[in-house]
């Protein structure tokens, strides 16, 4: 009975998977350094923090919102995490990073849901606020002197798997479960799909919408901790433009800016496409300017192809089984 739903679901994802494989083959042809294990690990290491932030973005988009403040939140969380880590040790640093991210997210969430200010306005304000605060706290200089056990988050391994990949993987699975199998997830889809209807079937939309931003903020905080460990310093300039990558990854992965759709797995594929594209072009020696042009084109193509594919699948199904009453 769920066959039709499966086809539509996997159809959308298969098309992204296909794009990913084609890109791999293409870059592999262009340069023999591309298709190697060490380069694959390299891509995944770069993709891990992006994935964390992008999943957060997806959660917010599913709930019908948008978070443009992700990158600034990452920078502020990075700076505070690094300060706490150098003063009080690695655990305090991690807690402070995630805590800062979650706090920033909560402020966004309360302003959007309780005070009913448009998400774009709230998060543009937060984008400016958090970046400014990050610079003010550091006078614009990186915060160094991180304990070695903190930077191990970037370079340590567990059963041969680098920590960032492990963390991103575990969090991804957790979010897949929460969004797919819990009421919190189901209700967020409902709110994003039709907020008024959600309220009228008895869903408490205000705290749930706020919680989506808190979750996104906490995930941005985790991304900040990994970036900070990778850079071995807290940086107020960190993650410039990250918000656009997270939105691109979500939208490529099937999230609609209108809310109510999107999946963490789709966002994983979107994140991988962005990361592979960047890495492949770097290896192939494409200039950063051209890279941006290609990335922009790729985002549009992926979305157009995805929508086309889904509507083709639906048309095929309608032909197969005449509309039942």
């Amino acid at each position: 009975m769920r066959k039709g739903a499966w086809v539509a679901l996997l159809g959308g994802r298969f098309s992204l998977l296909l794009i990913l494989l084609l890109m791999g083959l293409l870059f592999g042809q262009a340069d023999r350094h591309f298709l190697t294990v060490s380069n694959a690990v390299n891509v995944l290491l770069q993709a891990s923090p992006l994935l964390l932030a992008a999943i957060g973005q997806t959660i917010v988009i599913i709930s019908g919102g948008l978070d443009i403040s992700v990158a600034s939140n990452v920078a502020l969380s990075s700076v505070i995490s690094a300060s706490a880590a150098s003063a009080y040790g690695p655990l305090a640093g991690i807690a402070a990073g995630i805590g800062t991210g979650a706090a920033v997210g909560t402020v966004n969430g309360v302003l959007v849901s309780h005070y009913r200010i448009q998400p774009v306005i709230v998060t543009i304000a937060m984008l400016t606020f958090a970046r400014g605060l990050a610079f003010e706290l550091t006078d614009g200089f990186p915060i160094t002197g991180l304990p070695r056990s903190y930077t191990q988050l970037a370079w340590g391994k567990w059963f041969g798997v680098p920590m960032p990949i492990l963390i991103a993987g575990v969090i991804l699975l957790l979010v897949v479960f929460v969004m797919g199998r819990t009421r919190f997830g189901t209700y967020l889809y409902a709110i994003g799909s039709n907020e008024e209807a959600a309220r009228l079937v008895g869903i408490r939309t205000v705290p749930l919408k706020a919680a989506a931003y808190t979750a996104a903020g906490a995930l941005a905080g985790m991304a900040a901790v990994i970036y900070t460990a990778q850079a071995s310093s807290g940086q107020p300039t960190l993650a410039n433009g990250l918000e656009l990558s997270t939105i691109a990854a979500s939208v490529m992965g099937g999230a609609s800016i209108g809310g109510g759709t999107g999946t963490p797995i789709g966002t994983l594929l979107g994140t991988l496409i962005i990361s592979v594209l960047g890495n492949g072009m770097n290896i192939a020696g494409v200039t950063p300017y051209v890279q941006q042009v290609v990335l922009g084109t790729a985002i549009i193509l992926a979305v157009v192809w995805d929508r086309l594919h889904i509507s083709l699948v639906q048309a095929a199904r309608r032909k197969g089984e005449p509309a039942s009453q």
Binding site: G4, A197, V201, I203, R204
Partner: protein, 259 residues
Amino acid sequence: MRVLETRGLGIRFGGLRAVQELDLFLDQGELVALIGPNGAGKTTVFNMLTGVYKPTEGEIRFFGERIDGMSPYALTRKGIARTFQNIRLFQQLSVLDNVRIAHQVNTHHTFIDSILRLPRFGREERRMLEESRALLETMGLLAVADEAARNLSYGQQRRLEIARALATHPKLLLLDEPAAGMNPRETHELMEMIERVRKTFGMTILLIEHDMSLVMNISERIYVLDHGVLIAHGGPEDVRKNPRVIEAYLGEAAEDALA
């Protein structure tokens, strides 16, 4: 048993008194219609009954308890469900999920339960699924259970709205022009379906309708609203003969003719 009662209910929007001095009641198991010409204030009454608007005058009692000013989600949990004149579904979600979400709001387990997958959780999930499917069957929607709501025909979407409202386990169902935009055959089927819902679930139903003839056969009592004021109340035959009702509707017919 008295399910719903309003006394002196009214609301002002600035200087405009959209509804005033409204007294109405519903007893257990009744099907009552609220009719009136366009702009009479019918939907405004619904919006007050469901907590969308806060009345500025009078009171609303639900099983004897004051409920005016409560929030929509609280009223849903107390047992008041509604549908809309303009369809408001979770368009991107499947038909089954539309109904299941409404079910979920009214069953109780915590986040920890769903992580631990406790037996209670499994049982409730199964029961919820069965109930959702049974509801879809009653509303003739089981065949399209896995379709996204936005892919349904107009008549199917209207029926899904009713199914979703029923899934919240209401004690009182408010239907806002459920036949709007339907062709005569669909309308006829819908009215039969509403009868069936009422009998199957012993539901108390308040129905808003613009077209008087639709509700004549199925409602026990009819309230007629015009310009925010109650102009008649009684059995279908009494209301049909009431000169003020005829005038209100004739006036509208004349306006239509002039337009």
